[in-house]
Symmetry: C2
Subunit: 723 residues, 2 copies
């Protein structure tokens, strides 16, 4: 890299934590409160660790292995000790950091590429097998250095910068241009690391390169990543599990830029895209867990450290009391200036309920490559529908176009499997994604969307998936209805898939003041050729009843198919319900019943399955589903309604409303208008009418006739109550 | 029944709630606190209900049906309104109760036996299909009457007593002598109802009969029930689920006797058996749920109303601050004098941690018919072993002699299925015990104990089960070890089953200050003939690893057997581990790993199963087990150790100690002493030695030699640490 330009006169620390922050934090640890308690705990932990000898091992092991974990622990410890140094002004912490940095400064120039690097598969590091880990290390260690710099002699600084920081920054940028310039999460970490180090070392050139790419062309670099990796609403196309991970270098480097070059107004960049990204990450959760789409570990939630950081930083900028509600649920204070603001606000109980919303998050950097749709309402508990006409989401994406999930009363009711992985459990394929992640979790049949001829969308080809996306036709709402429609014709050649989903809140006429929640699903398929269409519902809970006879396998089970995920399903029971209404009721652990009512044409079957076949090492959870199957048709429409009802409380020994209130369900297409009619007991009838044409006029007039009665509505939809 | 004797001069109310209680409660509802808040909520509920017309329907429906539920709601409402009357002194509440009672007084004399009574199966009622429900009704309604009596005219009292209470008390006693005199829960309700009515109406004769049976012979009646239905430690032989249910009439009638005839000192009767029964009910729980042995709904917990009552009454008598800890967890205040004492104590935060103990609860009225053994310790969370060498437990008992369960860190790890039932869910066999309760849940293979030749204990014959019981050989403990041993030779003809279980706490030498929890299980079987021996472990969690090759069924599953529960198990995988150590590790939702290490003789197999075969209506939960199988042997000993370890935290992205620390396990019998040796990594070795002979001297001297080293210990056991 180029030699130093005129070093920017600066006072340290001035990365994420600034001199002003330190002043406030030093005062705060004298006062009772969450910040002080966190400081005490952190200091105790650091005190315990710095008693032990410094270990800086020769790099040997890959991810999860001893030397990998040791170098990780080292950067965390240096960072924490740096913070404690600034708060206590006790030199022993700075000395510890100095001593460790000096050892690294001796070691680093001698290091070759990591012995366990995956040739041709990952960008290699030196301390770590991947340069990604190296960049992460530098993000933290540059901060540790910045925190202790005031205690170092010039000689020490020179040694550390010459032996460690300069070579490492060079390695991660000039020597790894593909990663550094990449518009990708790995590029974000690399540019953040190098940019932050540039600020500490006074190398403004490095900062410029971090922001605009090595050539400062703007084709890569941090700002280009902000332009391209998020949609205009702040949605990251790999999905929430990866969004929260990607957030960390973004918000960290942005805080640093803000502290050093406030004139850049980085938090206003692209209409405040960073704050939107933080907020969108929160919005993509239910009951503290992220929606587990694509390769996601289901237990990952809003208390993840990346979002703790994100919320603290966002609160520091906006003082939005709703963010405090989230911070309180996260239950973790960080020792930074923003963490202090959050802690003090929580001490004063300033939090207000965070507002979760119904939103269609456009996908892709232009927001026009499909969308992730979230529908929310509260009827005796929070409901959420997640409807997924998104893009593929790169390598971690699943083949699940137009799938959906449903949540109610705190629980997942219609489920997404997430990823097949036991994170860091050596005995489970080294803690990596299991083979069954590919053979089951990514396949279409593992999701709640149509499978054609037992093949997955795009034939499970990632390239093809990435090259195509669904089109969001509309997303609209009023007080009673939130509704969305999308289509895709590239998942299967010659097959058009179009799905409309609506989350509805109806008054219950026989129970004044009470409401009924419903999810209406109309899945239309068109093709010139005949195909088999399967539509699963992966339900969570225990099957209670069906209004048709079940032909259950009693003494033996066979797998449902041979490939594309079908090989993992045991066929447990089947049925051929008569034309009319079919109803399946299950009971969730949340104590509520759920009935799926579907329109049956008398020529379709229902298949009940359980995961577990072709799973020699017991890698898959044995979850349940029922599958609507139309064995042979060109065009077909699946119509169903999901209805939460009742309560099962064996502890208090009562059960109420264990039976559906729906007596009839029908669907017709009239003048290009879909009309769904639902009849409830007590002669309460509703019609949901919607127009899912590709394009309509803004206040398009629609009219149709049902049972001799004429109806009219404007725009995309209307819910009629029929007396 | 005999005509009134000299009416006992009394002031009402004076059953559970007395005049003194009312005075205190009236003062309390003027003060802020839990009692006042409960009063406000109850009053609001009563206010809402008394607005509606009184409905006293002609009895028509059986349990769960409309008229049954209506009469139940009526007694609850009369009782609640009676309480609110006394607290507010607002006549409208008393008038409501009066009006309803007058309607019942008109109706009752006209009633025949209930139309839906089960001929020859249950003692019939008139309002209800069972006299049990009628007695429950009378327990509450006699209290409601007692609460409003001061507001009634003589004419009204005469009408109500003549039309309702006298005939009903007569029906439940003189006209139902078999039930009234029965030493059984049904007899307790009947005697409580009639005795309480006797006190209100001033009919001391009825009280005497309630206490001593219809002939006052003492062969039946309340006192005889206290003698026989509980063991000396207060254990009720049907198990905790039924114990808490049986408690209600006992503690209610006892409070009434205490209020009216304190000279009886009813709470001191049989060395305080009632207080012991209440305490034992609490002791038989883990993490707020009862141990689900026999026919039990697993979600039943300490917050059940019967125990709320029991704890309030016990606290009122003893002022034991540990009971307040339980009351706090129950989170329900009752509007009685004792409920007030609890509420006020909780308002003042007087609760102290309740002490759960390791105890062997002798079974049977003499406490000598086997025992239910609870072992407890805390190693990074509470552990509990439940070991079950109990009697059969009558009709609701399961065929599960010597079975065990294990709990750790709040969760069930080694499981008991409980009952197969969806309480009050009409679609599940009318909400009654399912057929699978008999074909699966009661069978021996559904439990964690030895099954011989795939038949259940006592050939699943209840009479035979009731006629035999295991023998508790010993129960002993010291600071590191809690150990118990029991045997039975009547479960299978010609087969002696003897099991010794120990819950152990070891220091971890490589982690100073940390401990390791272990459960050691030595199951010895002796017979003159060769048999097949199966020993299941019904584990809760996800299988992580085995240290032997699994032969897993990939594309088809078959049932494991044809009857006695085997028909419900899918055979998922099997293995024939070599002689030496076998290890199976699973991961529980509580985030902890569990390894079962077993001594293998090289001629035994392991079978991995899942419930689900022969279950046409999806009635059974599809839970998992592994089964150790010795296909053919006369004598055999199963030896295993269960070891909790590590932590899986994917949310915080770390996994630690996912692998067992046990390197070797062996067992030998030396001089009638069982010696189990466990070797941990780092060359830490322990020997558990125990003497399970039928009888030993109090400080019996034992000696044995292992690997050339001599060991000695006195009494039943010792844990040696070998350097
Ligand atoms: Zn998925
Ligand atoms: Zn059982």
């Amino acid at each position: 890299m180029g030699s130093t330009q005129a070093a920017i006169a600066k006072t340290s620390p001035n990365l994420v934590v600034t001199v002003a922050d330190v002043k406030n934090m030093r005062a705060a640890i004298k006062e009772d409160g969450q910040f002080k308690r966190t400081f005490i705990a952190s200091k105790a932990s650091v005190d315990e660790q710095i008693k032990r000898a410094i270990i800086v091992p020769m790099p040997q092991d890959g991810g999860g292995g001893y030397t990998h974990e040791r170098h990780k622990k080292n950067y965390k410890l240096m960072y924490d000790a740096g913070i404690i140094y600034q708060l206590t002004q006790d030199e022993k912490y700075a000395n510890y950091v100095r001593d460790m940095l000096l050892i690294y400064a001796d070691l680093y120039p001698t290091l070759p590429l990591h012995p366990k690097r995956k040739m041709g598969k990952q960008s290699p590091g030196k301390l770590f097998w991947q340069s990604l880990n190296e960049a992460m290390w530098l993000v933290y260690t540059s901060q540790a250095y910045d925190l202790v710099i005031p205690s170092l002699s010039t000689k020490e600084k020179t040694k550390i910068e010459t032996g460690l920081f300069r070579p490492m920054a060079n390695f991660l940028s000039v020597e790894s241009p593909q990663t550094f310039n990449k518009v990708h999460n790995h590029g974000t970490w690399a540019t953040a690391a190098v940019g932050m180090t540039g600020y500490v070392l006074g190398e403004q050139e490095w900062v410029e390169q971090a922001l605009y790419d090595l050539d400062k062309s703007g084709k890569g670099g941090f700002l280009r990543q902000l332009d391209e990796l998020f949609s205009p609403q702040g949605y990251y196309n790999e999905g929430p599990y990866y969004q929260r991970y990607a957030l960390m270098p973004f918000v960290t480097f942005a805080k640093v830029i803000q502290a050093n070059q406030p004139e850049r107004k980085i938090f206003e960049y692209r209409d405040g895209i960073l704050l939107k990204a933080i907020d969108t990450t929160i919005q993509l959760s239910y009951n503290k867990l992220f929606f587990p789409i694509n390769d996601a570990i289901k237990s990952k939630g809003i208390d993840t450290i990346e979002l703790v950081n994100g919320v603290a930083i966002a609160y520091g900028l906006t003082k939005d009391a709703g963010l405090l509600d989230i911070a309180k649920q996260q239950n973790e204070i960080i020792l930074t200036g923003d963490g202090l603001k959050v802690a003090q606000a929580l001490d004063r109980q300033l939090e207000q309920p965070y507002q979760f919303k119904s939103v269609a998050f456009g996908d892709g950097n232009d927001g026009k490559q499909g969308a992730l749709v979230v529908m929310r309402q509260n009827v005796n508990g929070e409901q959420a529908v997640l409807f997924k006409p998104t893009g593929q989401g790169l390598g971690h994406g699943h083949f699940d176009k137009l799938t959906w999930q449903f949540y109610d009363k705190g629980a997942e009711i219609v489920s997404d499997y997430g990823a097949a992985r036991f994170l860091n459990v050596e005995a489970k394929f080294g803690g990596r994604y299991l083979p069954e992640n590919q053979t089951w979790a990514k396949q279409t049949i593992a999701h709640n969307t149509v499978v054609v001829d037992e093949k997955s969308h795009f034939n499970a080809n990632v390239k093809m998936g990435n090259a195509n996306h669904p089109e969001l036709l509309f997303f609209d709402k009023n007080e009673q209805v939130t509704i969305s429609s999308a289509k895709i014709d590239s998942a299967y050649e010659g097959v058009l898939l179009k799905r409309t989903m609506a989350l509805i809140k109806l008054p219950l006429q026989n129970k004044p003041g009470q409401e009924q929640s419903l999810v209406i699903d109309v899945f239309n398929i068109e093709s010139n050729k005949a195909h088999q269409y399967d539509l699963p519902v992966h339900y969570k809970g225990h099957l209670i009843s069906t209004d048709f006879t079940l032909d259950t396998q009693l003494t033996s089970l066979s797998a449902l198919g041979k490939e594309n995920g079908y090989q993992h399903l045991w066929l447990k029971a089947q049925a051929q319900p008569k034309a009319g209404l079919s109803q399946i009721t299950w009971l969730n652990d949340n104590g509520r019943f759920y009935t799926s009512s579907a329109v049956m044409d008398g020529d379709s079957s229902l298949i009940f399955t359980q995961i577990g076949a072709n799973d020699p090492l017991f890698n898959l959870r044995n979850e349940n589903a029922f599958i609507h199957r139309k064995a042979k048709a060109k065009n077909h429409t699946f119509v169903s309604v999901l209805e939460p009802h009742g309560e099962y409380n064996p502890s208090k020994e009562f059960t109420i409303s264990a039976v559906s209130s729906i007596e009839n369900l029908s669907h017709q297409k009239v003048n290009n208008i879909d009309v769904v009619e639902i009849n409830f007991v007590g002669n309460q009838r509703y019609l949901l009418a919607f127009n899912s044409a590709n394009n309509i006029e803004k206040e398009q007039s629609n009219s149709f006739s049902v049972n001799g009665i004429n109806y009219k509505f404007e725009g995309r939809f209307k819910l009629f109550s029929i007396k």
